[in-house]
Amino acid sequence: MNRGVIHVDESPIPLERWRRYLPTWLKRFLPIRGGRAEDHHGKGMFGFTVFLLSESIVFLSFIFTYVALRLTHSQNWLSPGISGPELSTFVIISTVVLLSSSFVIQRAENALQRNQINKFRWLWLMTICMGTYFLIGQGIEWSNLDFGLSTGLVGSTFYVLTGFHGLHVLAGVIFQIIMLVRSFIPDNYNKGHFGASATTLFWHFVDIVWVFLFSLLYLW
């Protein structure tokens, strides 16, 4: 019977040869030989990245819809008397604020890695303010537009794309607030570490998505 027999195979481990050529950061990210279960931070960041890739497909499906509709309806894209979203200075300022907050949050996270907790809190607070500014700006912009959700294709696409992105900004700001509160609770400090890294990654994601939406909605 198979009473716990040990099978030994001393043949070289496949993939091991390729491992030499992988950059260090990739090796950290893709454990090749197994046995990395205890690296909770790495595991969590891996999972979260995978999730964001998936999330980006939802955005892509919306963007695909927008582009396809716009290509086939370039003639009657705007209903009569409707001007469509305008690239105002207001929008540009919001965009600049949102994009520069990516740098701020990254510096905050770096500070946290180096255990500079106060610096982290200040920079983190600044990110929260910048995100909130963007959200308020979006609200103001929405209320000033001369079209609504059901005003033709322009309304359908504009509100759904910016609204879905705005929801993500909102989620990001909520995560940030939670992490800020947590940083004052000593027991949660280590958990907050992963949370802060994940929030930072999420924030970059939200910003990159905005670059695409901004170009498509306002510059096209």
């Binding site: 980006s56 819809t65 059901s150 509100y159």
Partner: protein, 556 residues
């Protein structure tokens, strides 16, 4: 696996908690409990979906529309398809993968146990919500599992909560659950492998799960996106898919099939993985071409992302696109062929042990031949234009989703039943179940192929009397299939209560899951194993420490 010290053949796990059935009704984060929860829940939905199917077949036994009225008939086939795909096969695969992947990798649990429980507990509410739409005054969604606009948007005004609305919401819930699940599986497979468990020492089942879950990650969000837009069109007055208001329903078709073609492989890949585990174990042969079978799973992932338009050959698709997707669709036959060749070569000239799991695996793999061949036929544009939306399609995919995948699922249930429950099932009942299923399934689904060739359109409740002959055969086969589930249930329940105790490795199989107790203890392994061997070493003289199996013999 040098670090395992416990006596491998100790008959049962020592640490069986009292009242352990209660665990299966609780919010547990143990992947084994969650796996069983998934499997049992999806089986219940399978019964519901099967019941709807029998109603459909009852309606179709006569050419007239006389058993159910037409709106109800539409609701029946819509919910039947939806339930079978989203609440039977996909959750069952999630369940068996949940149960097996950590064990096969030598891990203590999934990467994110809490998330795992959350993604399971999203499904029962989603499923019950879906079924609850039978109670609405206007009934359930009626536009089929595709839910193509504009048909799906034709709801009587003044019905804000209608069947279509419920259908979309529950599918979004189930979809989010699947995405969370996929994140968990992919992370588990990358990060939770035991020391020495390199990628090319993972069982093919794990490769298949990895591939299927990658497809979930990349493609499922496009369905979710499409459904959200559809929901807005339905309830909030947007115009994405409304042709009369400049919208474009074809965009929905693209988004839908971008998910739903790969979905067929999300369903099929775990089944292929099950074949790769069961066939070697019962033919005492190493799996033929292990590496090519592993890599073929990834090949299927890559190709199947680029074939979705073959469902839209008749949707005003430009001909260059048709040509392109005809070619890519036929390319899928390459990695799939590699798989089928591997299975055949594995059992070639070996002494087969025809236990129930093996019967189901061989039956399923054989039926895949017909499913796959009809698929390649459909990939040819001229042929597809002829039979599109006929019963030929229904025959094709049922050969795959029932005769291949559901049979593989039964193979898996019988194969891992001793591991999961610590009991043996009754072989006689299992064989009875197999033969009833096999005969019933072919009687049901084969007639659909000639019916489709003769031009019988799908999704109709009344038809030209000249189609009746084959329809009677299919309906009788369908009722036989319904009956075939009874010996299965009897077997499972009876064995749970009175079955003989199972040893740790009743089949003398080689996966890591067989090195722990049946059922496995709380943390799966006494000590995390260190892996130093390839996954399928049956019959290889270098590893031939394993004696020929002694099926169903008590070994203590």
């Amino acid at each position: 696996m040098e670090s395992i010290t416990r006596d491998q053949d100790s008959p049962t796990s020592q640490n069986e908690p009292e009242n352990k059935w209660r665990r299966y009704f609780s919010f547990s984060t143990d992947h084994k409990v969650i796996g069983v929860q998934y499997m049992v829940m999806s089986f219940l939905f399978f019964l519901v979906g099967g019941l709807l199917a029998m109603l459909i077949r009852a309606e179709l036994i006569t050419p007239a529309s006389n058993v159910v009225d037409r709106p109800l008939y539409n609701g029946l086939f819509t919910l039947h398809g939806t339930i079978m795909i989203f609440l039977w096969i996909i959750p069952f695969n999630a369940g068996i993968s949940n149960y097996l992947v950590p064990l096969m990798l030598g891990a203590r649990d999934m990467a994110f146990p809490l998330l795992n429980a959350i993604s399971f507990w999203m499904i029962p509410p989603g499923g019950i919500l879906l079924l609850s739409s039978f109670l609405l005054p206007n009934g359930t969604a009626q536009s089929g599992w595709w839910s193509y606009p504009p048909i799906s948007l034709q709801i009587p005004p003044g019905q804000p909560i209608n069947g279509e609305f419920i259908w979309i919401v529950s599918l979004v819930i189930i979809g989010i659950s699947s995405i969370i699940g996929a994140v968990n599986f992919v992370t588990t497979i990358f990060w939770m492998r035991a020391p020495g468990m390199t990628f090319f020492r993972m069982p093919v089942f794990v490769w298949s799960v990895l591939s299927a879950q990658l497809l979930q990650l990349v493609n499922l969000p496009s369905l979710t996106g499409a459904l959200i837009l559809l929901l807005f069109d339905l309830s909030l007055g947007t115009q994405f898919f409304k042709p009369l208001e400049n919208g474009d329903p074809i965009i929905y078709q693209h988004l839908f099939w971008f998910y739903s073609h790969p979905a067929v492989y999300i369903m099929a890949l775990p089944a292929f993985g099950i074949f790769a585990e069961v066939l070697p174990a019962f033919s005492r042969n190493p799996l033929f071409g292990y590496r090519s079978l592993a890599v073929a799973s990834l090949g299927i992932v890559v190709v199947s992302i680029f074939v979705w338009v073959h469902h839209m050959f008749t949707s005003a698709t430009p001909s260059w696109m048709r040509m392109l997707f005809m070619v890519t669709s036929m390319l899928v036959a390459v990695p799939t062929g590699v798989k089928a060749f591997g299975w055949t070569a594995t059992i070639w000239k070996s002494k087969l042990h025809l236990e129930t799991p093996m019967l189901f695996a061989m039956g399923g793999a054989a039926m895949f031949l017909l499913g796959g061949v009809t698929g390649v036929m459909l990939a040819a544009v001229p042929f597809d234009i002829h039979v599109h939306n006929t019963y030929f399609i229904v025959g094709h995919f049922h050969y795959i989703v029932f005769n291949t995948i559901t049979m593989a699922i039964f193979a898996a249930i019988y194969f891992w039943f001793p591991k999961i429950t610590g009991r043996m099932y009754a072989e006689g009942w299992g064989k009875l179940h197999f033969w009833l299923t096999f005969i019933g399934a072919n009687l049901t689904f084969f007639p659909m192929l000639p019916l489709g060739l003769q031009g019988m359109v799908r999704r109709i409740s009344s038809y030209d009397p000249r189609y009746q002959g084959w329809n009677v055969v299919a309906s009788l086969g369908g009722f036989l299939l319904g009956v075939s589930i009874l010996p299965f249930i009897a077997n499972i329940v009876g064995s749970l209560l009175y079955g003989t105790r199972a040893v740790n490795n009743p089949w003398h199989a080689t996966g890591l899951e067989w090195t722990t107790t049946s059922p496995p203890p709380q943390d799966n392994f006494e000590q995390i194993p260190v892996v130093k061997r390839p996954p399928y070493d049956y019959g290889d003289p270098k590893y031939s420490v394993i004696e020929p199996p002694d099926y169903h013999q008590q070994e203590n």
